[in-house]
Amino acid sequence: MNKLEADVIIIGGGIIGCATAYNLIKKGLDVLLIERNGIGSGATGRSGGGIRQSARVSNEIPLAMESVALFPGLSDELGIDIEYTRSGNFRLVEMPDHRRPMQVDIARQQSHGLDVSWLGVTDVLELAPGLRWQNILGASYCPEDGHCDPLRMVSGFYHKAKEDGLKVLLNSDVQNIQQMDNGQAEVETNTHSLKAAKIVIAAGFGSQELCRKIGLDLPLQNVRYESMITEPLPPILSQMFGVASSDLFFRQTQNGGIHFGGGLIEEENEEDTRTTGDNLKMAVAHISRLVKDLGKANLLRTWGGLDPSTPDGMPILDFLNENVLLATGFCGHGLALGPMVGRYLAEWLATDQCPEALEPFKRNRFDGWLQTKWTPSGAFAADLATEATQTSGTGTVGSGIAFMTPPEYDDAESADQQKLLAVNPEMCTGCRMCESACSIEHEKIMRQTGLRIQVAYPSDDYFLPIMCIHCEDTHCMEACVYDALEINDYGIVTVIEDNCIACMLCIPACPTGGITFVDSKETVVKCNLCGGDPVCARYCPTQAITFRAIDTNMREKMDDFMSKNLDSRIDR
């Protein structure tokens, strides 16, 4: 077999391999690139083309921001138009359930200094008039994100590096990597045996197999993405789009085709670029709900591609032994991170010093990782799973419509206190679903009298659920002379029905109107928080009633607006 030598051998001709090669050559190193098929034939060339910093996990945001900053200069630097447009990235929210987690997620990203914000549907439409507003509630928007043509970008890095002396072996399959006694490593392909001091594995979904050859099993799983592109259409969308509810992405390329697709979680280690009808149908149906007038466009072609993912949604960038550097597991973020990762990897290879920016991506974060099956997930989905949906968002959105106004209170400090019912009249639409739930739960009959919770209508645009707020003063207990009310360790007051003779002294004593007389029972009743899972809060469609920890401030506020509107509470 022929023997070639180089300072660094890079396995994989995708964006990471080519960008690293380009930066190494700039540093004057002798570099050889091995690619199994053609340049950009793997995940890079099959990607969606999004260049975004938003919707990333926290540790990746600084790297993404650095990398995106390089993009405006790339076309000139590489001498090829990579069709980069910095037109912004939307992540559309279609379901009310996703709105608040999204706002929480935006706050998290903002804390890393990212320019990302929540836009209501009218603002989204103003920026992207090509969308069908009726299925959209709003979106996260990062104006500094954009998209580019992935194939042009990778070939830019490749050709520039080749002009400056990059050696290339295309259509070569790496079969083994071995460390040698002289401190070098040897790479065996189907045709060559190659030696170098440093080897970079940037082989995308093929990396896992190469790692196994070295004796390491890393938590990588392949996700298959399927994409398609329509015939060229007049310009209707300039931004990059994602959605909160699924993996769908879409953008309009510079020649006018709508490029869209999404992921399908599947473990497949063979190169598989099939497209499945079901997945495509889903993507077509989904995008048709979001983009106007797509119904008549013809699809030009469809393709699939595999992308290795890690459990935490971040790549693994680390030396596997003295010679071999692994750079894979980009979870679909490689295109945007590529230019900067290429720079850092070149620096690392040249100096033997891990750049500080790459510290979070070392493989030791998976030490002790159990090889169980996991579901690769994007940043947002991961947050959805961990953030309670009751967490309130920040900022004010829209006007006049209850569901678009986030609650004004949030009190993490009192999180370990007893949870109580919190009422936000701003969100209440006066539908009385809380009453229905309470009646069915406690009385086993649907009625509107003798309830533990009642909606008051002080005016035609202000509605207020009134119930016991379990205040610290316990006026009701003071008023009761028959020991028919008891308080537990957590401050929850309940009625002992056997002791109650319905003297009703407690009713006027309660400042919020939380106690009611039930004639059928001949006792008074009041809220007992349903033993810890109040049905009213569960049934409330607008989160006007929530079950949460409450601080004194909030309690006072509730006391205030309930007692102020006591007159408008009519015993139904």
């Binding site: 009310p96 549907v121 539908c431 009625r447 645009d461 469609p541 139904r572």
Partner: protein
């Protein structure tokens, strides 16, 4: 013991003041579900469909569904059924708010109001206590004043349904207003209430609705709750923009009838869209009883000539008082809408009648002298003035108050009436939506959009997408998933707007534990079909024939402009296919075997006895 149903029907005779209570026939409830179906069945028992609509013999039936007031999502509906004063067909207008559930809490499944009082009266129902009380002081009052006065006279939390001055003056476009702003508007049911001199019904109920299996019921409710709150149409756009979320959408697709259906796109649509309402006049949204959707808009025009406050305008109101009259001033449209509410008249018929008058005026058939002022398309001040005149039956308004069919006939241009069976079409152009064309022509109460709103399929893709222009399979689509299904939904007591998120299966999953009667999907299909055929039989008996299943000539001509220029309503061949699918003969009459299949053979016999 009844579950879901209360088991009692209240009968009030205004002529002799007799009040009686009857037990609900359980078999009838099983066959006709409740609400629209049950009330229609009761009506058929009460009268010969050939009677004069505005007569003491015509009873006014308020019906509730077995789910009304049960607290399951969106269970606020009640229906008003009678022989329609406007159309002569069977009338079934429905409305939400809190009035329907209150009837149930008071202990009644339906109220049958017969006869005619010599003096204005109101009905006060407090649980089992029912009184007919004088209402001279309330006569002439707007619904909001009537409601606040009645709450003082009866109980502060009584729920009120009443007529406005329009109904008192027997306007054939008047409806019955409840909870201040909600209205059972179409077909002129308010005129019949006015004829009976019944100003209002005040109800307070302190009882409960028994549920057969509370645990199952609660589970099904939570399931439906999750489905509705997860649905982008029901919980997304209807919540954000109300029904007016449709304005831009329908206009953009070139299906927004404009200037008395002369065109299908309106240049001023954006000004009167849901987005514009949200931006300019919306105060907040609010909900009917137990409804997570809360599509109601509380709006206020704060200053200027069109100052006012109320609820709406809804999609059809925005359209009828806006695009149809060529008016693009949102404040004027809102004002006209508030006025319609005050007078208790139907916004669609009112707008359509004014639009018809505008066309008559522009074509020279009507003169300025007759009207009192020029009435041109796009003249917002004249439009608002005309609404007032209709409500008061003042001057030319006296003629307008009886609807566009009678107006167009009177002035010798019957072709300018845009509707079917004397009821005006609504805001979905039949030139574009072929499903709506067939639906308008065959609907049992005239050209109406809520008897089978195929736009759900032809635009939103619910239950599945059928392109609007496609003709194939539209007959079956109109028949089963829309007309029959709507009949079932209206009868259950649940709001039609939930249908974007749920199907019969979810409704049956609620009905069964609520009533203890086995409701299932297959039966619900038959129940819907039965109700539709019953209504059809009523109409045939009242003198309608297949010749009345038609649309105005104008919509069969190509649409002149807009994105769907050239499209037109195509009916001819479809009617016969539709009749065939329904099991009707070529004259559109249910065959004896069809009636037998539906268990309506008795009704067929009754018919024949009359013949």
């Amino acid at each position: 013991m009844f579950y879901g149903y209360t088991g009692t029907i209240l009968r009030v005779n205004l002529t002799n003041g007799k009040i009686s209570k009857e037990a609900l026939d359980k078999k009838m409830a099983e066959d006709f579900v409740g609400g629209r179906g049950l009330a229609s069945r009761l009506l058929c028992e009460e009268i010969d469909p050939q009677i004069e609509a505005l007569s003491p013999e015509n009873p006014l039936i308020f019906g509730t569904g077995p789910l009304t007031g049960t607290g399951a999502p969106a269970t606020a509906r009640y229906v008003v059924v009678c022989k329609a004063p406007l159309t002569g067909t069977i009338a079934c207008s429905n409305s939400g708010g809190f009035f329907g559930p209150e009837i149930k809490f008071a202990g009644y499944d339906a109220l049958i109001i017969e006869g005619e009082s010599p003096e204005p009266v109101y009905l006060w129902i407090k649980d089992e206590r029912v009184e007919i009380r004088p209402a001279r002081v309330l006569w002439g009052k707007f619904p909001s004043e009537t409601e606040s006065s009645l709450q003082k006279l009866t109980h502060p939390s009584a729920k009120i349904a009443c007529i406005g001055p329009g109904g008192e003056k027997l306007s054939l476009m008047s409806g019955i207003v409840n909870d201040n702003y909600r209205i059972a508007a179409r077909s002129g049911v308010g005129a019949l209430m006015g004829k009976k001199k019944l100003k209002a019904i005040a109800v307070r109920g302190t009882g409960g609705i028994n549920l057969a299996d509370t645990e199952e019921f609660w589970k099904a409710s939570m399931d439906m709750h999750a489905k509705i709150t997860g649905d982008p149409v029901s919980f997304g756009s209807f919540r954000a923009y109300g029904t007016t979320s449709l304005v831009n959408l329908i206009n953009e697709m070139g299906a927004y009838p404009t200037r008395n259906f002369k065109s299908d796109t309106f240049e001023g649509a954006a000004n009167t869209s849901g987005e514009a309402i949200a931006e300019e006049i919306l105060e907040r949204n609010r909900a009917c009883f137990a409804c997570p959707i809360s599509c109601t808009r509380v709006t206020e025009v704060k200053k200027g000539p069109y100052k006012g406050r109320g609820e709406g305008p809804e999609y059809e109101s925005t359209w009828a008082l806006g695009a149809l009259c060529g008016v693009s001033n949102l404040e004027a449209v809102a004002k006209a809408n508030y006025l319609c509410g005050d007078y208790g008249i139907d916004t669609i018929s009112t707008g359509a009648t004014i639009a018809c008058a505008m066309e008559l005026f522009e074509s020279g058939a009507l003169t300025e002298k007759e009207i009192g002022f020029p009435l041109n398309f796009g003249d917002e001040a004249a439009m608002v003035r005309a609404v007032e005149m209709i409500g008061e039956r003042e001057g030319f308004g006296d003629i307008l108050a009886d609807g566009s069919y009678r107006l167009a006939e009177r002035y010798g241009h019957p072709e300018l009436f845009m509707g079917a069976k004397k009821l005006e079409m609504s805001a979905y152009s039949p030139r574009v939506f072929q499903g709506m064309a067939l639906q308008y022509a065959t609907s049992n109460r005239g050209a109406c959009h809520v008897r089978g709103n195929t736009v759900a399929a032809e635009l939103y893709g619910v239950p599945r997408y059928m392109p609007p222009e496609v003709l194939e399979q539209k007959e079956e689509m109109v028949r089963r998933p829309f007309q029959n299904s709507t009949a079932f939904v209206d009868s259950s007591g649940i709001c039609l707007f939930t249908k974007f998120a749920i199907t019969h299966r979810e409704i049956c999953a609620l009905l069964t534990p609520a009533t203890g009667i086995d409701f299932n999907f297959d039966r619900s299909i038959v129940q819907g079909d039965r109700i539709w055929n019953l209504e059809r039989m009523f109409n045939l008996r009242a003198g309608f024939t297949a010749a009345d299943d038609k649309l105005p000539a104008r919509v069969s001509e190509p649409s002149p402009d807009g994105p769907r220029a050239g499209s037109r309503a195509i009916l001819q061949n479809h009617l016969q296919t539709y009749y065939q699918l329904r099991g009707w003969d070529t004259e559109g009459r249910p065959t004896p075997s069809k009636l037998e299949e539906l268990g309506l053979e008795d009704w067929w016999n009754v018919c024949r006895e009359h013949d």
